[in-house]
Symmetry: C2
Subunit: 193 residues, 2 copies
């Protein structure tokens, strides 16, 4: 179970983990299973955990005053999941995070995670790499939403995240793109020709 995580960390750093470091990581991350639809985090709660997805698919979304869900993020295997805003600021979250499929996670508390970053230099490097990727992805997505039409955004999405198309239904992807499921349906119909 932890092998996936250790391999992931080694893949994303230059110097491999020592035995001791591996042991520390294994001791810190606990397996957790979530059934489909089960919450990892609910709006109003403070996010205390960070999860690494070993198997499954999850989503993060806000719910507006009309009860409509807006997908802020989608997650699959080898993604880190948590609400950074809540975890860092220790404030109640604006978001829900739940399992879209039955999911296997490795979770650690935010505090333990920070500990690891200090104690294990590879781990710190890896998280900085993830931070960078995350920042870059956010920037691109933002740029795309303010610059492009829905059609172009969907096109970019399928290019950048072909895996997601397989795993999530269209109405979630529409929400992720900031459009309705009907509009996405029509865009796809157009594109087929």
């Amino acid at each position: 179970m932890h092998d996936t995580l250790l391999a992931y960390i080694n893949q994303h750093t230059t110097s491999p983990l020592t035995r001791e470091e591996e042991a520390l990581i294994i001791a810190t991350f606990h397996p957790k299973k979530l059934r489909k639809k089960q919450y990892f985090l609910q709006e109003g709660d403070v996010c205390k955990y960070v999860g690494f997805i070993v198997k499954g698919a999850m989503r993060q979304y806000s719910v507006d005053d009309k009860g409509v869900e807006h997908m802020v993020q989608l997650y699959i295997e080898n993604w880190w999941v948590s609400d950074r805003e809540s975890a860092v600021m220790l404030t109640p979250s604006r978001y829900y995070i739940d399992a879209w499929e039955d999911t296997e996670l490795l979770i650690a508390t935010v505090a333990d995670m920070m500990d690891l970053m200090e104690k294990i230099s590879s781990f710190g490097k890896m998280t900085r790499l993830m931070d960078n990727r995350n920042a870059i992805a956010s920037q691109r997505r933002l740029n795309s939403t303010i610059s492009n039409t829905a059609e172009k955004r969907y096109e970019e999405f399928t290019d950048n995240h072909p895996q997601f198309i397989q795993r999530f239904p269209q109405h979630l992807i529409a929400s992720f793109l900031g459009i309705t499921k009907e509009t996405l349906s029509r865009i796809r119909k157009q594109a087929m020709k």
Copy 2:
């Protein structure tokens, strides 16, 4: 000139900088003046510098195939400016960054900046804090763009960035929000009633 930067760093960390650390920072950051409209970075160039704005205002934007500019970010005093994607990945930038007002910067190369993060723990802490804030702000902005109407987004913007309203003309703010200047003009007209 460097005082502003040193004060800023001390404000954002717990343990104050030592004399030696201050000296190292001063030696690393070079003053740079940009006249209004002068580029800090152009599309296609690799971003080699990180800047700290001591005085002035800047903007980062992409230009689409029709020649329309889309404001990805606006910057004023005490903001860090750079294209992270280009700087980290060493790839040609998708963006332009230029001075909106005559601006005074303190700049360092990306490599020197990384050096400082390692050598000065307060500096590393400060950058991690900035990374966190940045990630949180991006998340919020993304959530706002996919969830809200233009009107609501403008409202949130004025709440979150009242300073920007004073410094940037409406058409830049409209672009930042992903709408046209005409639409923003009409939204404001409505809101006045």
